[in-house]
């Protein structure tokens, strides 16, 4: 995300993000992941884009202008002709997104059922929080023996990316107060990641709502199936179900880990967490790992400042294109 770093610039040079032939490719940025956002990973796959592809995480380089969008700034969005936009997501892309969120919904709801959470509770939280990553984070900390407070805190931390996503969405989603409120509520990584690729407002809005509908249907249906299925699974550990959480979380944040800064943060966080486990109360190692993210951002900025670069951090105009943080979606 330190756009001022040279390596980021290099990566940006090949930006295929706007390849008209591959609408889903840029969806990755959305991936940046809500770990809960299951959708992100799926988007990636749909696009079958190289994970290292810079186009996947525009957020990383807010001030960087992709070669094919000269001079684009938020204010100029309307000036660009719709001809520059990639084709709208095909039915196949939407179906893939839908299935991915369905899979995530099944996984999360089955885990809830396994813990004797009622059908009503599971469905309500699926709709109101609308975040698989938040639910998984909460359950994981509780599973590890952490307090409810620590579990809620970790769920809030993984949801910070939503604020970035809706801040990006706010200036682009035209429509009345009702649609905007609904749009904010249903924001996850893939739908915003896809819609920000379209400069034509009407087209961006259409892409946003189609994608959002596909994701919502998949997520809700998946939860309904999972909460039913969970009861019949039985002895979780014997079936290897204790690795469902780590595997599911990993799959949802894959897009975020695909960036250099994301990978560095992830590795540092894992090392710190393991080092702290035996020394501090359960749940705390996870919360303390959040400081790795802060340290990485500050360190990268400090490095960038010591190096003469064309884009001074102070003038970052940050097109909101980037932002896609968690893959987990919701």
């Amino acid at each position: 995300m330190a756009n001022e770093l040279p390596d980021d610039h290099d990566r940006g040079s090949g930006d295929p993000g706007v390849d008209p032939a591959d609408p889903a490719a840029s969806a990755d940025p959305a991936d940046p992941v809500d770990p809960a956002d299951p959708a992100d990973p799926s988007v990636d796959r749909a696009a079958s884009v190289d994970p290292a592809d810079p186009s996947l995480d525009p957020a990383d380089r807010p001030d960087q202008v992709p070669p094919d969008r000269p001079g684009e700034t938020p204010g100029e969005i309307d000036d660009a002709g719709p001809d520059a936009d990639p084709p709208e997501p095909s039915a196949a892309v939407l179906a893939t997104l839908c299935f991915t969120f369905f899979s995530v919904g099944v996984t999360v709801a089955a885990a809830l059922a396994e813990r004797d959470v009622g059908v009503l509770t599971a469905m309500v939280v699926a709709v109101t929080a609308y975040s698989a990553t938040s639910e998984l984070a909460f359950l994981s900390v509780r599973e590890a023996g952490g307090s409810v407070t620590a579990a809620v805190a970790s769920a809030w931390l993984v949801a910070t990316r939503f604020g970035v996503l809706t801040a990006t969405l706010g200036g682009r989603l035209s429509g009345g107060p009702g649609p905007r409120l609904l749009g904010a509520w249903l924001t996850v990584d893939p739908n915003v990641g896809l819609m920000i690729q379209y400069r034509d407002r009407a087209r961006a809005r259409r892409v946003y709502w189609r994608t959002t509908a596909a994701l919502a249907v998949g997520w809700i249906a998946g939860n309904a199936v999972g909460i039913t299925l969970g009861d019949v699974l039985g002895d979780a550990d014997r079936w290897g179900l204790d690795v469902v959480f780590p595997a599911a979380l990993l799959a949802t944040i894959r897009p975020l880990l695909a960036t250099q800064v994301g990978l560095v943060t992830g590795v540092g966080s894992a090392v710190l967490c393991v080092a702290l486990i035996t020394f501090v109360p359960a749940g705390l190692p996870i919360l303390l790992s959040a400081f790795v993210a802060v340290a990485v951002v500050l360190a990268r900025r400090a490095r960038g400042r010591n190096r003469p670069t064309p884009d001074d951090p102070g003038v970052e105009t940050a097109t909101t294109d980037g932002h896609a943080v968690e893959g987990g979606g919701r």
Binding site: P32, P41, S42, S48, P51, P62, D63, T100, V104, T107, A122, V125, A129, S131, L136, A137, L139, A144, A155, L157, V158, R161, F162, G163, V164, T166, A167, L169, G170, R180, L181, A184, W185, W239, G240, L241, V243, F245, P246, A247, A248, L249, L250, A251, I253, G262, T265, G266, S269, A270, L272, C273, I277, T278, I286, A290, A293, A318, E326, R330
Partner: protein, 101 residues
């Protein structure tokens, strides 16, 4: 998961979305550091969760068959396998190893 937890999770996820949409908006563009931190926090927290779930056992570290399942998941994620393949691959491998051992 209690109803209190449901409310708190909703406040965290939906609340931060509403704050981003209605209170932050384009102001975030002028605060690149905050944006970068907000984007990276989920990665740090989620990876820590994965680490805890893989080798943690309360307040001690236990290396067992979970490591094998998560290793399979890492490989599958690296190979860009679909979500469901990653999860099932990890579960099936772990269950198989436990059945054999």
């Amino acid at each position: 998961m209690s109803w209190l937890a449901v409310i708190l999770l909703t406040l965290g996820a939906a609340g931060q979305r509403l704050i981003g949409m209605y209170l932050v908006g384009s102001k975030l563009d002028r605060r690149p550091v905050l944006r970068q931190i907000a984007e990276l926090l989920p990665v740090a927290v989620v990876v820590a969760l994965i680490a805890q779930l893989t080798v943690g056992d309360g307040r001690s570290i236990t290396l067992d068959t979970r490591l094998i399942g998560v290793a399979v998941a890492i490989v599958l994620v690296w190979r860009r396998a679909p979500f469901i393949v990653v999860v099932l691959g990890a579960v099936v491998t772990t269950a198989a190893v436990r059945a054999v051992i």
